[in-house]
Amino acid sequence: MSQLNDISLVAQVVVFKNTRAFDELVKKYQSPIRRFFLNLTCGDGELSDDLAQDTFVKAYTNIASFKNLSSFSTWLYRVAYNVFYDYIRSRKETTDLEAKEIDAAWSTEQENVGEKMDIYQSLKMLKEIERTCITLFYMEDVSIDKIAGIIGCPAGTVKSHLSRGKDKLATYLKQNGYDGN
């Protein structure tokens, strides 16, 4: 039902350039998309909102390319992931840092042992691609096949990223005294 409603709204945007229909889509998906970026940027609210805004503007300008092969939310996550990837690439060009250096730098930030468990602090442990897979799978309840479609790689690769990310996170959580109780 929700998916049908999405398709109807998308059709109104494509055919009639109906901005009200697009406004409804923005209102419906602003929370998951902003939350997705908040997790990817490890809690940078301002950057997350800028990236989320870019995502919706890109979705609006390219909405005719949505072919209904996947659900609208999957397509929107794909746009969001591309926006994030473009941002990462531009940041790497300006800072001239290798991904490994960033990941290594972030993975050493484990000072809050014993403090209140912070999701963003724990996500900093992961590489960007692992963070993307973990966030989509555990936070946004997206299936492995859909994640593969979003990040554009085989399902097996997604499983590997998920497995590595899961091990790192679980170890980190346990080390910090989180046992789920």
Binding site: D23, V26, Q30, Y60, D167, A170, Y178
Partner: protein, 107 residues
């Protein structure tokens, strides 16, 4: 492995929260390309309407006709021989160039 999975599911469920809109959708809608174009079209229409209303209420047509008549009369009174043909030619060329540029920009 299963325990890790359970642990992470529970951790993310506890951390999951809905984010309030707080004007975000409005900000997005304002930044849409067609929205700004729409606003610019509205502004142009508004200005054109105001200009037309002022033109009609202030007898614009009559003012233009009066100005042209005065120019014609002054030319006739001073004599055609006093007209500087060089200046007239430059003015005509400038006007033609401006018109062409306007037409090109509208195309």
């Amino acid at each position: 492995m299963e325990t890790n999975d359970k642990l992470l599911k529970q951790f993310f469920n506890e951390q999951k929260q809905e984010i309030e809109d707080n004007g975000f959708s409005r900000r997005v809608m304002r930044s849409l390309p067609s929205y700004s174009k729409h606003l610019s079209n509205l502004w142009v229409s508004f200005c054109t309407t105001i200009a037309l209303v002022l033109f009609i209420t202030l007898n614009g047509l009559q003012a233009i006709a009066g100005a042209l008549r005065e120019i014609f009369i002054s030319i006739m009174q001073n004599g055609i021989e006093n007209i500087d043909l060089k200046s007239l030619l430059i003015a005509v060329v400038v006007l033609v160039v401006l018109c062409l540029r306007k037409v090109c920009s509208m195309a």
